[in-house]
């Protein structure tokens, strides 16, 4: 029975090519599969005849059968059908203005422009490389620890997070002992920071693009960028003539302060800016 059901339901949507419109209609009503319809009786023929019917125009092709399969694949098929129809409708009702030339062709316009920019950038890199040659320090010596150990500058932020050990909380119960080692604390700090950045698109949704449209998130961004500098400064703390505790305070307070300033600034700019933006937008697309 359930087999028959599925087949019939499937037929409803694949409708166009079904031959006997009568039985199609009954099924399209959504009623229970009718026991009398031709297809069902064919399926139930387990008695006298062979049940093998020569294929004719109404017999679904292999791909049609595949489309009508029950379950996830069918759902996928239906979804694609729907979204295709949706696209089609959107296209039909769009007020998209067709022009003869919609943009510059890739060749030669874009390629020549991009080629010029590329050559300029590469030339600039070579110029910098020529002007500021790299040095080669002393060879590795496991028995002499240098006074300054640093990775390349773009890892300073990570290195700074490794030096957060003064903030690793000690527990009174453990006599000031720590639950996790200082190194593990630093590694975890790295994971937390990278994880938070990765998670961003799932926290801030919506269609706003300009910082003025979302002063809060812009402030978070500026705070984060400032933090990447202050935490990098922590990596070179032994080169900075400030007491460690003061520097640790700066690391966390400066981003908050500058973030707040950004927030205030954008809030102030916002009204005038949004007013102009909205006016232009609605002049072109008056509300229906």
């Amino acid at each position: 029975m359930s087999d028959t059901d599925t087949t019939d339901d499937a037929r409803t949507d694949g409708g166009e090519e079904t031959a006997d419109s009568e039985s199609t209609n009954t099924r399209a009503d959504g009623g229970p599969a009718s026991e009398t319809s031709g297809t069902s009786s064919e399926l139930r023929s387990d008695g006298g005849e062979t049940g093998i019917v020569a294929p004719d125009d109404e017999v679904p092709t292999w791909s049609e059968r595949k489309e009508r399969k029950a379950g996830l694949s069918r759902l996928t098929y239906e979804y694609f059908e729907r979204s295709r129809r949706e696209d089609q409708e959107l296209r039909q009702e769009s007020d998209y203005v067709e022009r003869d030339v919609l943009g510059f062709p890739t060749w030669p316009h874009e390629i020549i422009r991009n080629g010029a920019i590329s050559l300029f950038f590469v030339g600039m890199m070579i110029l910098i490389a020529a002007a500021l040659p790299p040095s080669l320090e002393m060879p590795a010596n496991p028995s002499a620890t240098p006074s300054i150990i640093l990775p390349d500058w773009y890892l300073y932020w990570s290195f700074g997070l490794l030096k957060l050990n003064p903030l690793n909380p000690g527990l009174a119960v453990l006599d000031g002992g720590k639950i996790i080692s200082d190194q593990l604390y630093g590694v975890l700090a790295n994971i937390v920071v990278v994880g938070a950045v990765a998670f961003l698109p799932f926290l801030n949704k919506g269609s706003a693009r300009r910082p003025v449209e979302q002063p809060f998130w812009a402030a978070i961004g500026v705070g984060g960028a400032v933090f990447s500098f202050t935490i990098a400064a922590l990596a070179v703390q032994n080169l900075i003539p400030l007491p460690l505790s003061l520097q640790l305070n700066i690391v966390f307070i400066a981003p908050v302060v500058i973030g707040t300033m950004t927030y205030a600034l954008l809030k102030t700019l916002r009204e005038g800016y949004m007013y102009g933006l909205n006016r232009r937008y609605y002049m072109l697309r008056p509300p229906k």
Partner: protein, 267 residues
């Protein structure tokens, strides 16, 4: 009936009638000869398709369509930063491949008492034509790529380009920036100088501090708990074999997704 092949469409008459120039005739003859042998006609559609894709007439962008850009969207110049990262990556790859001809990843001692890796860098800088320039270009393009990637990430953040359909590209970007930093780190260790050795030391300490998988990770990445020949070989393989393939593939995917999804426009 003659066994001689018949020219059913009378190509000769057609050719005569066309009155071709020498270049055209050579071209057409070549085409016919090739087509008889390779069935080029079967692939014409593909070529045609490629031609129209290359000469694509871009649809109007959102800003253009709604005429929102009569005020200049002042972030646009920053949209070149992704491309700039790719460019610096390519320069680093080319100069790195050339450096690879002369570099030897070994910590064994030379007669002068310095490690072979260190000595090979020294040779590159002092003895080989343009070696110094090559190393300088490789270092600087790597640094510039990192700077461009950071700035690219900031522009993506502040233009809200990571939103709805583009989350995957943001995540891919996080993976790319992390791998780029690993790229830089493994390269930093290769000269086997003081900075390299002690940066490596910190890496080992970091991975050892991770519970459960830490020791396994240290052995896998650094070849043990103290630095030596196994470390430099691992860093070398990561830097010149594994990461180039992985990062190149991911960049292609990243840019491919941008191609498919289009650049995010301000509304």
């Amino acid at each position: 009936m003659s066994l001689e092949k018949r020219d059913e469409f009378d190509h000769h008459a057609w050719l005569k009638e066309k009155d071709l120039t020498a270049i055209e005739r050579v071209f057409l003859t070549t085409l016919v000869v090739l087509d008889k042998r390779l069935r080029i006609v079967d692939y014409l559609e593909l070529l045609e398709d490629a031609y129209y894709k290359i000469n694509l007439q871009m649809p109007k962008s959102h800003t253009e369509q709604y005429d929102l850009d009569n005020k200049f969207w002042y972030w646009y110049p920053l949209y070149s930063l992704g491309f700039f990262s790719v460019l610096a990556y390519i320069v680093a790859a080319v100069s790195g491949a050339l450096l690879g001809f002369y570099y030897a990843p070994s910590t064994a001692s030379t007669a002068a008492g310095t490690p072979v890796a260190y000595a090979s860098i020294k040779t590159i800088m002092q003895d080989i034509q343009f070696g110094f320039a090559l190393r300088s270009i490789h270092r600087w393009s790597a640094q510039i790529m990192m700077a461009a990637v950071f700035l690219h990430m900031l522009r993506v953040y502040f233009t809200g380009s990571y939103k709805e359909p583009r989350e995957v590209n943001w995540l891919l970007g996080i993976i790319l920036i992390s791998l780029s930093m690993v790229f830089g780190y493994t390269g930093y260790l290769l000269p086997w100088n003081q900075l390299a050795f002690w940066a490596g030391q910190i890496g080992v300490k970091m991975s050892l501090s991770v519970p459960i998988v830490g020791e396994w990770g240290a052995q896998m990445l650094f070849g043990g708990f103290s630095l030596g020949q196994p470390t430099i070989i691992r860093m070398y393989i990561l830097h010149v074999f594994i990461l180039p393939f992985v990062v190149t593939a991911l960049i292609a995917l990243h840019v491919g997704i941008v191609w498919v999804q289009g650049i995010a426009e301000p509304h």
